[in-house]
Amino acid sequence: MIKVGIDVGGTNTDAAILDGDRVLAAFKAPTSGDVSTGIVEALRGVLAQSGLPITDIGSLVIGTTHFTNAFVQARELSPVAVIRIGAPATMALPPLCGWPERLADCIGDFRRIVGGGHEFDGRRIAPLDEAALRQAARDIRAAGLTSAAVTSVFSPVDTTCEERAAEILRSENPDLMITLSNAIGRVGLLERENAAVMNASLAGLSAKVVASFRTALRELGMTAPFFVSQNDGTVMAADTVARFPVLTFASGPTNSMRGAAFLSKLQDAIVLDIGGTTSDVGVIANGYPRESSVAVDIGGVRTNFRMPDILSVGLGGGSIVRDGTDLTIGPDSVGYRLLSEAMVFGGATLTTSDIASASGVAQIGDRQRVAHLSADLLERATDRMHFMLEEAIDRMKISADPVPVVLVGGGAVLVSRPLKGASELIVPEHSGVANAVGAAIAQVGGEVDQIMLYEGRGRDHALQSATELARKRAIDAGAAVESLQTVEVEEVPLAYVPGGAVRVRVKVVGDFAAGMVGR
């Protein structure tokens, strides 16, 4: 099957076309303000290079940072009806507490806390206050709101309150876009509620962007369905994206890491993606990126939905080198002005690219312009760069054992020596478009993350029902039943809680079902 992956970054939109495991062609186009134009150009370019007609495409996956950027920059956010179920609990901390003002202002001031929710063991905190929800539904209509976020206490244990609330809201507002927190976040009410509100605020924009992708691809004559990358290395059907835009956050680094693993044929490795300003270090375990275990801050808002565990260090191809009492590199960079400001390009700023060029390890710009740099300076700067990368790699490892390191990204040329802690250093073919390759090879996944009580039903039964639910979710998302495999089972017992309460996470992935990718 012919698979196409397109990764929309801040600067470039990269495309790769694969036939099974083989990369047929790759293409880079500049990212456009409207996203779609860049995608069309990249797709045209990569098809032209491969010589294939667009009708040969079996699946197309798009990875984009558009929604992350929109949220952080508070652009085109929808106002949201924020509804929390849990009174009389949680009253001490109202929704959106701790949000930066400029983002909270975009969300508006429709915030309600109504009675209901669950205890950790499934008991009800209070009966669901349906009258208050009906009133909220009417008020939402009167206010003309189009998007709502519903968060109930312990909805990861029991989703019924959120589901019933959605029914009530929808009965008054059939077209309301509703985000239920249990579909996105984990235990941790404020963080999960924040994630749900964030998602709801992007509902309008995501519907618009997905529609523009669809129109653009149809105009090109593409008939295959298209998908959008999530940040765990799996995909969503285009229709689902409009409902879960936050799940695309940080899909860029995830695609790079998955692509690096695929191109190097490694299931377990550290991936070092060196760009112009930073190096992103991530860990691939079992072919998928390791997830962050701590609360993640996005634009000053604390959330806890799954994100890849990425360490960014201020070292890239444009990082500024200063030689004072100590030699320092970065964290500031000349960025996209590299081609005018770096010494090898006739500029006046000493960058890491100048060091690499002068040392003769990479052919960048005009080496004559940096011939005056002393051997001592080159030596110390090269030492420093490798030291920074070695430290970053070491911080991401979980043990002292050496692991293979895969190098991708344009700045990979800076690495000219073996790195401490790396069993081997691999620069795979097509590493410049590892992100697009990672998008192309994405699979379909299903996940369960909830608190289960082992007492009574027993551990095996609990794990089995969680796995079945994860499989069902994967199939619903478009996975082929016969290809499903369980890639992760995690059990974390809760401290101080009786009844054998355990937080269970199960993740299942599979290939696209044939019916999904018909032409």
């Binding site: 609990a89 949680t90 950790f120 809680v497």
Partner: protein, 369 residues
């Protein structure tokens, strides 16, 4: 002193330091205090000496499972209800509230109650750091019982425990907190001003704020985040024997949950000029630190792990392989170093073979003390 919103982060940071690896994530506590101080922008922190001999002082805190605490957030009125029950139980109104322990989240909650009631907070606690159980306090050492304990939940339910000893108080209160949905607010060990002067560890709130501020100010400078902290500590009464024990990176980490405790060992290798291998043993809090097998500090003295760059205190659950950390140890309040104090919180109380030796003796510290 007058406590204002700008002190919240300093207090939280200082309380994380005195948490000695335990005390939990203070985030929810900070948010509760931020919220309460929107309507009450000033809280009075009073010294132990400002409390009349016969006035009632009530320690307060939260009890429950950390996982539940971040999900089923408080109503906001529980602590006031628990305090009312205590006042009824004792038969007179409270003059002030105070923290039971100054480590982590527990340091912030009495201020939330103070903001909601208008009562002052006594600048003291029962230990001068974080501890894993009620009986490991200076109150216990001085024979002040934890009983009566009053508990309240989000619904306005409350309970009173009168127990024959501190262990029973802890057991019964824990069972009730589970029935209350594994999280509740409680008050315990009501005492008079005279008893407070006998049993409490003084000045620990202002010390925690000072520690947090010292870290923040030193962080703003180019280097030596830890130097600023050590300078501050050396000027305090309880923590004046303070030293940077080690600078290194985590090379091995073992942890497990045993009988509800987070138990484990952190192994570190040095960054020059430090030498030798370091080992930190923890049970909720850091208990003992050894360098090449030699004990360098132990409970009740405070052992804190700080991020090498920012000096942010790290809890045991936040430690990861590969982290660069500085290890700082300080003396603990004198009462915890007495034989009676060591009996409840010395190394032997945690099953170690070693006797307690003060950090200043172990490290031959010469100081301004």
């Amino acid at each position: 002193m007058i406590f204002r919103r700008e002190h919240i982060q300093d207090l939280a940071r200082g309380a994380a330091f005195l948490g000695a690896g335990g005390g939990g994530d203070p985030y929810v506590g900070c948010m509760l205090l931020e919220q309460a101080m929107l309507t009450t922008p000033e809280i009075r922190i009073i010294s132990v000496d400002e409390v009349p001999d016969d006035a009632l002082v009530v320690p307060t805190a939260m009890m429950g499972a950390p996982t539940v605490l971040i999900e089923k957030l408080p109503n906001g009125d529980e602590a006031r209800l628990a305090l009312q029950r205590m006042e009824q139980e004792v038969g007179r109104p409270a003059f002030a509230v105070m923290p039971g322990e100054i480590g982590g989240l527990a340091a912030l909650l009495p201020l939330v109650l103070a903001a909601r009631t208008g009562l002052p907070v006594v600048d003291a606690d029962a230990i001068g750091r974080a501890v894993p159980a009620l009986q490991m306090t200076s109150f216990h050492v001085h024979g002040l019982p934890a009983s009566p304990v009053t508990l309240a939940d989000v619904h306005g339910n409350s309970a009173v425990v009168r127990a024959k000893d501190d262990q029973s108080s802890e057991w019964l209160a824990r069972s009730i907190s589970v029935a209350m949905g594994a999280t509740c607010q409680f008050c315990f060990c009501p005492m008079t001003g005279a008893e407070l002067r006998r049993g409490a560890v003084r000045d620990t709130i202002t010390n925690a704020i000072g520690i947090g501020r010292a870290i923040r100010l030193a962080r703003a400078e180019k280097s030596g985040a830890v130097d600023g902290l050590l300078n501050y500590l050396r000027g305090t009464e309880h923590y004046r024997w303070a030293t940077l024990l080690y600078d290194g990176k985590v090379v091995d980490l073992k942890r497990e949950t045993r009988a509800g405790w987070a138990v484990g060992t952190i192994k570190m290798e040095p960054i020059a000029p430090f030498e030798g291998k370091l080992e930190v043993v923890f049970q909720n809090e850091h208990l003992i630190v050894r360098q090449d097998g030699q004990m360098k500090a132990s409970v009740p003295d405070v052992i804190a792990l700080l991020d090498r760059e920012t000096a942010q205190p790290i809890t045991t659950e936040g430690v990861r392989y590969g982290q660069r950390l500085k290890v700082v140890a300080t003396s603990s309040p004198a009462v915890m170093r007495t034989p009676a104090g060591l009996e409840v919180i010395g190394p032997r109380a945690f099953g170690f073979e070693e006797d307690f030796v003060p950090v200043e003796v172990l490290n031959s510290l010469q100081g301004p003390a």
